[in-house]
């Protein structure tokens, strides 16, 4: 067990955990953009910087990737140094995406009215890589990843063309902190703008409602065992059909018997 001090609060870590996780568990808030508990931390946005002190040495680390291992370190999440650097990072982010609400809010909280930097080609994407991580680690598709480097770095599909791998689940859009991944639906098509990818939608076998991207049920079936006929139905019809099949059982009796 490791005992450390975060913002003059004594906390204990049982087992492997990062500074960020430990702080949050103890009710200490650290701002983050590129962190999501479902995927491996990546340390891209640097907003979660904290100052750690051991004896006389202090250093800034990204709390989302910093493992809690040493006893007796002191962590400051709001020190003047941390705030100065965090403010700077936010100013950069604000210059890059002046239209993104969460960045506006975070900047306002830090007392930034306007960024001192001007960027002419704005981009809502802050290159946190959450979309790529979720697609790889959770969905298991790796349809997108970082491409190019330096100022040209972006997240994209292979050859910047409509993705062949994408199943249209839009998990990427869901985790994107800035809303840079826009999804539209029209005429039996789901369109993910950022990946320039169109996915046909499938109709419910019973009620004809468009309810899922056409290749998703197949992909789900390949990953886990589920009754195939249920995946052909929309959520409502699925519930109905389960309820109907339950009505064949006498659920009030202790030994469930199938009614004739």
């Amino acid at each position: 067990m490791v005992r450390i001090n975060i913002d003059s609060k004594e906390v204990e870590a049982n087992g492997e955990s990062t500074l960020l996780e430990l702080a949050r568990k103890n009710g200490i808030e650290i701002p983050t953009l590129c962190h999501h508990q479902a995927v491996t931390p990546y340390g891209a946005c640097r907003l979660c910087l904290v100052e750690i002190k051991k004896e006389d040495e202090t250093k800034l680390v990204a709390s989302c990737t910093y493992p809690v291992r040493e006893d007796g370190i002191t962590v400051l999440t709001q020190s003047p140094k941390v705030n100065r650097v965090r403010k700077m990072i936010l100013e950069f982010l604000l210059a890059r995406c002046p239209e993104v609400e969460i960045i506006q809010e975070m900047s306002a909280e830090m007392g930034i009215k306007q960024s001192r930097f001007i960027l002419y080609d704005n981009d809502d994407c802050i290159l946190c890589g959450l979309c790529a991580r979720v697609c790889e680690e959770i969905i298991g598709k790796s349809a997108v990843s970082f491409t190019d480097r330096g100022p040209d770095r972006k997240v994209s599909t292979p050859f910047n063309e409509p993705s062949e791998e994408c199943v249209g689940c839009t998990a990427c859009a869901f985790v994107c902190p800035t809303g840079a991944i826009k999804v539209e639906e029209w005429d039996e098509i789901r369109f993910i703008e950022k990946w320039n990818t169109e996915i046909p939608l499938q109709k419910c076998a019973k009620c004809d409602m468009l309810y899922t991207p056409a290749n998703t049920p197949g992909y789900i079936l390949s990953k886990m065992q589920l009754p195939e006929n249920l995946l052909r139905l929309c959520e409502k019809c699925r519930r109905k059909s389960v309820a109907e099949s339950l009505s064949n059982y006498d659920v009030t009796s202790k030994n469930v018997i199938i009614k004739k």
Binding site: A132, E136, K141, S142, A143, V144, S145, F146, T147, D148, R149, T157, P158, F159, E165
Partner: protein, 159 residues
């Protein structure tokens, strides 16, 4: 363009048992074809069971990989500070005009690729051009002319 996938397979077999040997494999493919053909990347992705997006990430990250066919001869014009003040822009102009291409492009006959680099560490020789790995320093317009002519002649002879 048709890509000989047999060649790709051979290269893949060479690295089959090594874990995460994608970069050397891509390097071999790149030098075999003078670029990374799209079909070759797809083949690697299938056979090595690595997502295509990961290969694309590597291919676009490293400067030594190219996704478009490169010329037989590579001309790198140094545009670093020292070469720049010693007249590299004029040399570059000369070369791009001669071949009628922009830096970074390849001539239509697939013979020459011209690109700019920033300092190759031989500033005392500036302005400087690296032609197929050989350094040619102290260039001025007429010497550039000669350099290109020399290569043209050689090409004529060999073809």
């Amino acid at each position: 363009m048709n890509v000989d996938l047999g060649k790709v397979d051979k290269l893949i077999d060479k690295y089959r048992d090594e874990e995460a040997a994608y970069i050397p494999l891509l390097q071999d493919i790149n030098s075999e074809f003078r670029y990374l053909p799209r079909d070759a990347l797809k083949r690697v992705s299938q056979k090595m069971e690595v997502p295509l997006s990961h290969l694309f990430r590597l291919a676009t990250f490293y400067k030594s990989f190219s996704l478009v066919p490169r010329g037989e001869h590579e001309i790198q014009v140094c545009m670093g500070t020292a070469c720049h003040v010693r007249g590299a822009p004029r040399v570059l102009n000369k070369i791009t005009q001669q071949f009628q291409i922009y830096p970074g492009e390849t001539t239509a006959d697939q013979k020459f690729t011209v690109e700019t680099v920033n300092c190759v560490g031989a500033c005392a020789l500036g302005p400087l051009v690296v032609f197929d790995g050989k350094y040619f320093g102290h260039l001025n317009l007429s010497r550039t002319d000669k350099l290109l002519e020399g290569y043209h002649e050689e090409n004529k002879k060999s073809s």
